[in-house]
Structure formats: C-alpha cells, structure tokens
C-alpha cells in the first residue's frame, strides 16, 4: 500500500467544514491586515498603516510601476529618462536602469523615502 493513511480520529463532515472556514477566515484576516498592505500597499482596514506595512507596500508598488512603464517603453509625458532608457527589446536590463532612474526622479524619493538598494527592485518584476 502506498496511499497515505488518513488521520486516525476521522472528523465529521461538519467539523471539517468548520475547520476549513476557520482556516479561510484566518487567512483572510492575515491577508487584509498584513500581506496586502506590505506587498501591494493595499490597506482596506487601516491596520497596515498603523503597523507601518502599507508604507513598505507603497514603495514596492512605486518601483513595480516604474519598472513596468520602462519595460513597456510607453514613455509617459514627464519621464524623458525613462523614454531614453527603455530601448526596444530591453527586458530585465530596463529594470536595473529603473532603479537608477527611480533614484534620480525626485518625486518618488521625496515622498516615500526609498533607499533603492535592490530589495524592492527584485519585487518589481519586469516584463
């Protein structure tokens, strides 16, 4: 027999459903209060900002936006640098450049106080 043995005291259908719901609710609470604020700057409850996680997420999101706009070579009206850097066919190198441009473009660094030392830039997945 290679099939795994089931848990010894078999739970009832209702017990199992309740446990699944508990798991889902706990997961949802963690997502809304910690994960979404810290990773994406999305903070529906405001708890993330109190914990300082939303600020982290906003930095990541700003970097991701920058990398995406560079990679897509869309060249928004304000960024001459981005347009120059996002040469055709530049995927990941554009992301590396975006760190430089992120530091030189003051409106991002002023408001969010980023130290663009790579950790955020890895999250900013280029396409």
């Amino acid at each position: 027999m290679t099939a795994p043995q089931p848990a010894s005291p078999t739970p009832t259908s209702w017990q199992l459903l309740r446990s699944t719901m508990i798991a889902a609710v706990v997961a949802g609470a963690l997502l809304v209060t910690c994960v979404l604020p810290a990773e994406y700057g999305v903070d529906p409850t405001g708890i993330g900002r109190v914990l300082g996680l939303t600020q982290m997420g906003e930095v990541k999101l700003a970097l991701a936006e920058e990398a995406a706009s560079n990679a897509a070579a869309e060249a928004p009206a304000d960024s001459v640098i981005a347009a120059a850097e996002a040469a055709p066919g530049s995927g990941a190198p554009a992301a590396l450049n975006s760190r430089v441009s992120g530091a030189t473009r003051s409106e991002r660094t002023d408001t969010t106080k980023i130290t663009t030392d790579g950790t955020g830039a890895i999250k900013a997945r280029p396409r």
């Binding site: 795994p4 089931p6 990773e39 790579g118």
Partner: protein, 232 residues
C-alpha cells in the same frame, strides 16, 4: 525531547542562513550573474536550483503536506519521484518552448495545491464526496504546476541561449538535491514529532494551519495578479 529540540534548533539555524543572505541582496546579484553568463555553468545553476527549493516556502509547504502521513522511506521516495518527474517535465518544456504563463496565477494554483493536500490529509474528499482521489496522480499533476512556476521565473531571468539546455538540466539537478535536503530535514522532524504523545491531537490542527497558509499564499498571488497584472 531534548534531542528533538536540539535537532530542530540545528535545522532551523541551517534553514535560516540562506534567508539572511537573501536579505542582503544576493538575489539581485544572482540576476545580474544570470544575465551576464553564457556557456555551460553547471555548478552555479545547480546551486541556484537547490537554493530555490530549500528557501522556497511554497514547495516546502506542499512537500510537508505530502509527507505528513508517509512513514516509510520507500513511500517518500515514490512521491518525491512523482513530484520530480512532474516539475522537471514542465520546467524543461516550459523554458525551451518559451511558455509565458502569468507567474501570479501559477503561484496561486500552487497555494491551492497546499490547501488541497491539507484537505486530503484530513480525508475531506472521502467525507464530503465519498471518493478518495489517488494521491499519486495528484502529486504528479501538482508537480507539473510547480515546474511551470519555476519555468516562468527562469524565463524572467532571460537566460543566454548559449548552454541553455545543460544549464537548465543543472538547475533541475540542483532542484532535486535541494528537495532531498529539505525533505530529509522535514522527515527527521516529522518522525520525532509523530512519536510524541501530543501528536494525534495536533495533527488535525497542523493540517488546518497548513491549509490556512495555503489560503494566504493563494490570496497573496491572486491579489498580485489583479494589482500588478494591470501594470504588466
């Protein structure tokens, strides 16, 4: 009990140090290394593969779920082989055929695979639907998904076509080595834990906790798909 505690401490300290390195931005260095490298670099890519597995919490959680009720080494070997066949296939094919799948969606499915495995361990499918799905088939199928996730991450690195296949195979071998290392560690801890008196009452809750972690992973990735997906 003291032995268990000592083993756990030793293992956790071993498991922690790659994370410490990662925190210091070695991952950014990896990316530059891969971008610059061309030609066959078997050992560096094997290292990257092994580290991906040892530090990848998604794979580790799934494997923890898989071996939760496996006692014999023979069974563990069977399931690991199935998982390895699954993810090696899609990793190689995915990279060579340039299959670009949304990484967030793949990772969300991986999170759901953790939920599935935890429910399976709680015999949920037998209780709810009266059927016991074949764990071997499920492991193979989820192996395919995990490999697809790896493939999308490697494609993001834009590896040089020079020496691509040998490097990919080296990466795959590294993944296997990392998996064996991680599984050995999990097995040692599991086997000690199973022998403790508290295990029967904890195993149920442990699987519920694994399920919750799977839900968090799935939600995190799905949210990423919607929030960052619009940027890509």
């Amino acid at each position: 009990m003291r032995v268990v505690r000592r083993v756990t401490l030793a293992l956790s300290s071993i498991a922690l140090w790659p994370t410490v390195l990662l925190a210091h931005g070695v991952a950014a260095g990896d990316k530059i290394f891969i971008l610059q490298s061309c030609g066959i670099l078997a050992i560096p890519f094997a290292h990257l593969g092994a580290r991906h597995m040892v530090t990848g919490y998604d794979h580790l959680l799934f494997l923890l779920g898989v071996i939760f009720f496996l006692y014999r080494l023979k069974d563990v070997a069977l399931y690991v082989t199935l998982f390895a066949i699954g993810h090696s296939t899609t990793l190689l094919l995915g990279v060579l055929a340039q299959v670009h799948v949304n990484a967030h969606l793949v990772d969300a499915v991986i999170g759901l695979s953790v939920v599935y495995k935890a429910l399976d361990n709680l015999s949920a499918f037998r209780i709810w639907f009266g059927v016991q799905p074949d764990a071997r088939v499920a492991t193979l199928l989820f192996g395919f998904v995990h490999g697809l996730g790896l493939a999308t991450k490697i494609l993001d690195f834009e590896m040089s076509p020079d020496g691509l296949l040998p490097n990919l195979i080296a990466f795959n071998v590294g993944v296997e080595i990392g998996q064996i290392l991680a599984l050995s560690a999990i097995l040692i801890v599991m086997n000690h834990w199973r022998r403790t008196r508290g295990f029967p009452s904890l195993e149920y809750r442990a699987n519920v906790a694994i399920m919750a972690a799977g839900f968090v992973m799935a939600g995190y990735q799905l949210a990423g798909c919607f929030i960052l997906g619009s940027l890509i």
